[in-house]
Symmetry: C2
Subunit: 223 residues, 2 copies
């Protein structure tokens, strides 16, 4: 089978690539990988989200290689911003983290593809061609992680806002009485919430409750 990127006709306009990453060496590395290939035209780069917004990226780039971790703003939000431009560029997310949460968030905010920073030149070009043609591209690892993440979210117990609130306060070390006082309700109420939390998280004491909560990323304010 012929690799997709070899199907590209040589007389087409080059794909205009814009890079957003706060690591100079990553920018250099990406540019180096693409410079030699006449299929690409490097139209610029930004090292922060705000800087990126200063360019008319939508106007003169076909694809943005977007790092998830930027100093000023999450790449996830920048992704949404870029996708709301018109015309909007295709987005290929590039990250050193293969956390399923990140991948899922990025794709849900409009990214067209996701590759790790340890990507080879071959895979990178393949990914860029894919997203510029309107297809999605996920590296093998990213795909696996995404599936696992979807699975996790389905399995994840559904807590009410009040329950999450109580859970946080339990985790912070307060007793039921202290929580009740803080929330201006009776101790019985907190007792109930606690019972429901134990049941929903399949726990039978505080320690296993917190363990289970932590495994499901229920602490650290994931609303």
């Amino acid at each position: 089978m012929i690799p997709s990127h070899q199907l590209r006709a040589s007389n087409m306009n080059p794909i205009r690539v814009f890079i957003v990453d706060d690591h100079p060496m990553v920018i250099e590395g990406l540019q180096n990988m693409l410079r030699a290939d006449s299929a690409f035209e490097l139209v610029g780069h930004a090292m922060s989200a705000s800087s990126c917004k200063g360019f008319f990226v939508g106007q003169f780039a076909d694809v943005v290689l977007l790092d998830i971790n930027l100093p000023d703003e999450s790449g996830i939000q920048l992704c949404r911003y870029l996708k709301n431009l018109s015309p909007s560029p295709h987005i290929l997310a590039i990250s050193s983290f293969d956390s399923g949460t990140f991948i899922s968030d990025m794709m849900n905010h409009g990214a067209d593809g996701y590759v790790m920073k340890n990507v080879s030149k071959e895979e990178l070009t393949k990914a860029i061609f894919a997203v510029t043609q309107g297809r999605h591209y996920l590296s093998h690892d990213a795909n696996e992680k995404l599936k696992a993440e979807k699975n996790r979210r389905e399995q994840m117990p559904v807590l009410t806002v009040r329950e999450k609130e109580v859970l946080q306060l339990i985790a912070s070390g307060l007793t039921n009485a202290q929580i009740a006082e803080k929330l201006f309700v009776s101790v019985s109420t907190i007792d109930s919430h606690r019972k429901n939390l134990l049941a929903k998280l399949h726990a039978n004491n505080t320690a296993s409750l917190l363990r289970s909560a932590s495994e499901n990323f229920l602490l650290t304010s994931e609303k």
Copy 2:
């Protein structure tokens, strides 16, 4: 004041640089930063610890730019290995993580310097010159983190092996009775250990105990 790297005489032998990183684009980026400067000679690179050991790095490199996160083996262990060679190269650790634990571990295993992956060309060359001259180099951020880490380790409560063992079992959700059974001791003993843990970690219930333990990285088997 004249930057140290300008003090270098132009007739000196170039500094032989070897790169270890599993990210092709980082390798490209680093090489690109250094290639133009005649003070450096790029003598090769490896993308894994085992591959690195296949080269006679000690023989023909003055400095190794070493990523902490390698696919097969921790960069920390590779660092120790390289430092035990003779002659041994100078090591400049390069990481995308500024976790104090990593920095501290790296420096304790013989690294001569530590910079983040978002390092500029100027700082990188400065760091390389420093370590090849036998001096240590820490980026400003790394230095701050290292100090904070030292402070943390001093403040950290000292637990006995038995206490750590009990702590782990508590965190896993077992009751005192279950722990006692598992360790073949009486419940009273676990009761005592638990009391001591509460006192040492300034906690007054299971939740705050686990919270405090987590803050001190006492879970996740840091012996």
